[in-house]
Symmetry: D2
Subunit: 301 residues, 4 copies
Amino acid sequence: MLSSRWFLEFTTDSEAALHSIEEVLYTAQTQFQRLEILRLGLYGKALILDGKMQSAQSDEFIYHESLVHPALITKGDPRRVLIAGGGEGATIREVLRYPSIESVIMVDLDREVVEACKDLLPEWHEGAFDDPRVKVVYDDARSYIEGIREPYDIIILDLPEPMEEGPAIMLYTEEFYRSVYEHLRPDGIMVTQATTIAPHNLNSYRIIFNTISQVFSVVRGYYTFVPSFYAPWGFVLASKGADPRGLMNDTLRKRISNISGELRYYNEEIHRGMFSLPGYLKRALEEEDRVNRDSSPISFY
Amino acid sequence: MLSSRWFLEFTTDSEAALHSIEEVLYTAQTQFQRLEILRLGLYGKALILDGKMQSAQSDEFIYHESLVHPALITKGDPRRVLIAGGGEGATIREVLRYPSIESVIMVDLDREVVEACKDLLPEWHEGAFDDPRVKVVYDDARSYIEGIREPYDIIILDLPEPMEEGPAIMLYTEEFYRSVYEHLRPDGIMVTQATTIAPHNLNSYRIIFNTISQVFSVVRGYYTFVPSFYAPWGFVLASKGADPRGLMNDTLRKRISNISGELRYYNEEIHRGMFSLPGYLKRALEEEDRVNRDSSPISFY
Amino acid sequence: MLSSRWFLEFTTDSEAALHSIEEVLYTAQTQFQRLEILRLGLYGKALILDGKMQSAQSDEFIYHESLVHPALITKGDPRRVLIAGGGEGATIREVLRYPSIESVIMVDLDREVVEACKDLLPEWHEGAFDDPRVKVVYDDARSYIEGIREPYDIIILDLPEPMEEGPAIMLYTEEFYRSVYEHLRPDGIMVTQATTIAPHNLNSYRIIFNTISQVFSVVRGYYTFVPSFYAPWGFVLASKGADPRGLMNDTLRKRISNISGELRYYNEEIHRGMFSLPGYLKRALEEEDRVNRDSSPISFY
Amino acid sequence: MLSSRWFLEFTTDSEAALHSIEEVLYTAQTQFQRLEILRLGLYGKALILDGKMQSAQSDEFIYHESLVHPALITKGDPRRVLIAGGGEGATIREVLRYPSIESVIMVDLDREVVEACKDLLPEWHEGAFDDPRVKVVYDDARSYIEGIREPYDIIILDLPEPMEEGPAIMLYTEEFYRSVYEHLRPDGIMVTQATTIAPHNLNSYRIIFNTISQVFSVVRGYYTFVPSFYAPWGFVLASKGADPRGLMNDTLRKRISNISGELRYYNEEIHRGMFSLPGYLKRALEEEDRVNRDSSPISFY
């Protein structure tokens, strides 16, 4: 018998997904957004903000390992990491696997979301919020980063999509990326989630990639798949010199072996595979010349 | 304004996708299945059989390049190729890019589907059906393969999912794979689409992989993403000796350079990346011991 | 912003309704059926059994007043009433408005449903379960009625639709109606909900009406609308002599004035209006000759 | 097997209906609105404007007989009738059944809709557009009515719902109804469709009723059900004196007998029943004091 209760998400005006709901764990209208934590029939628990799936229990490890490890492995001995967004705590969880980590700052706008995740999504954070190296700041990521005094090794942008009137629209512009650049150490690395790389919906990834290319000297696109996003998912890693594609096999292997705990998705082969771009994507990135600027930030659905 | 007309596909009892419909190009109840060719808002034209998306214009190239090239590149000089299923003609299209091809037999059950694809989906076949090396046979793939006299270099299984009472349920069993094995040349290769590798829905891929492993000495899992399937998509390549992971860089490069026309997805890096399996998938395949047999064939949703 | 959470109900293979869910109040798999109590965006609380809306807060009064009052007003001084089904308690609530009532027996199969309604749907029962004249029996309505010793004035069939393998399929047959007839007093009246009278879906109403016509001498169809059922809703009133259409104005007015509390839907005009059948319905009932029998009970979607 | 193709209509932000589509007969973006003519699984052909169901083959007769006959029967010998809207031609069809009719003017904004209905919906108009007494004018109904020189016996407002930025928003205001009043003969009658009377969504009906009550001396609410609208549907009949509830039985019977052709819904009993308002609706209309004015026209979803 079909389920009665469904989570309906319009991903564009022309596409929607329906997921059966097993349990409604939490709903609230926070100061910034509509928050829902549901248990879905197929994906386990899911965090939903303003009606859009943020991460799901069955595959959040793919997203979070993909977001964190390429950058930290490329850096080698990450000490000071800043995370913008990342309310579920799983990004912190992955960062803390590196023994070299001294300090992790997570800047999230919405205290109510973070508190709900702490309480209801322990499978995501696994206690990471309680680690003494971790500090959570409730602030706008952009103004916080602009005010940083001591630069970071790594800045991870784990943000919602840049939707019109959404909280993240000013966190994908050239001016913002310049600010990130300035607050990274000379061997620092930035990584951002960068929306889908599906061929029919490639616009936003292209623009984000090209915008970051205005600022950083080494810019690498990579991607993974996240089933609960119904799409292949893109990221951009940018650095002042280090190149994730240039790591020697020995170095890569040794650094990965230093990660504590069990990796469920990422490994040496996956590191290589993620940066192997399909033909259509390579060509699209080469052709792109649009830049996303504060004066007219592009909003994606 | 939201579209009025939607294609609703339940992928399981707990999940469905909605795609806006721009135009209904063709609908029919054939002898074997319900056939629909729609133009969707996001994906362009789409072939739908028994309510399930088979391929869509915007990303069929990802599926078909992924299905065909790893096997044919591993073979090196494919001459005689058999395709089971593949009604759209895009699998033939990819096979014909190899100058060494002498003969391609496509065995599809449903003449009405193939005729409709010939007529309405020229973007898929690009005239491939008219190539003098191509022959289309309307028959059950299993009985046809069992009756083959001269073995093939390559057998490509481009089949619908093994659904209960669906036409393909007996085309994923150990007995069937033995028949394929017997009708391959000593250096022959089989490749099959093998359902999703999403972590929450990994059952069918695991079983197909393990079943093929009972028959062939070299069995390699690989995957791609197909946005219109809303899922990462798995394949299994099996051979009597040749290993797609063992190709030297020079060999790989040289063979790919012999492919005529423009590749939109596949390339040298992608070949390497596709066979790089995530940790969760490696472990699942190692642990699996179920075998799919004729006596009680497993059906997937 | 669109809601995220929806109640999806397929009313047939060709039609479904989506209602936003504000709150999930209760869900359970009982011994007999799947039970859900939701708070919907438009209709307030709703009782859902096996995925089908049973009644909703905003319009249950239309259904329950329509089910109860025509029969009890036609009877005039109802004393002993039996209700088959009616788990929400709203049918009892309406019956208890008649000062002449001495005893109400409600026979419902599913204790867990009744307990949940008692607890969570006080707006329906308004404490009716606690009235000393009321007795609830948990049993199959058919076998209970067959075992009745002292006949009733009124038997109200407040049943789910006769779905295949559903609990009510044997409660719409000629044999069952004969049993009801035998357990009514000589001036007794039976009334049953009888599915929709929508022109495109009139089959079940026609058959129920004609089946009852095999048993009772006076059989009257009537209907109302229940917005949360998305359909005009039909009932059949049957008696051994009394005719709801034959009440004199004075009698009707006087009897209605004896009903205690406020009527929200039913009144003198409505009583007349309900029995005024549209042309298409009159003709359909005249033409119908199918009878629903135990030997091959018809099941409706 | 479930249908693949569905018509999805959000009736509010909290409710939607899904209907299976058998065939897409016509789609266009006209100068004024999005036009779709579909064949639905349950309801036969359907006219859809801006994504909202206007009428369906299986029950349009209920809507159109309910809209036309109470007013024309109350008038008795209608000669000159003006219809605002009514593109399908079924309102004209019903009007032409009265032998006294001399002239019917239909004023519809959208020629493309009317032409498509003429062509594709003969079951609605049954050739009525070709009757020599009929004239179709493509104009804004409001400005056309303001310019009328010779008053009408009957003005029928067969309009889409007053949605924000929709073409009908200024056709439900007090100022408009005054213009209608002025262009009716002394014994003239106006009737309008007036949105749903469902208890949970009664706002618009109440306001329309009260607005008309500012202008006409006799104002009567009535209603029917239209399954394809998923709701009980309200109308308002207003006159300068004649009262549809005051017709003697003989008069009513005689006038109905003069209607040519077969009535499928309306009859003498139905005429009485339609004006029998439920308690909740009577009270709502008594309490209402809002008036819809040009200066701030209310828009309904």
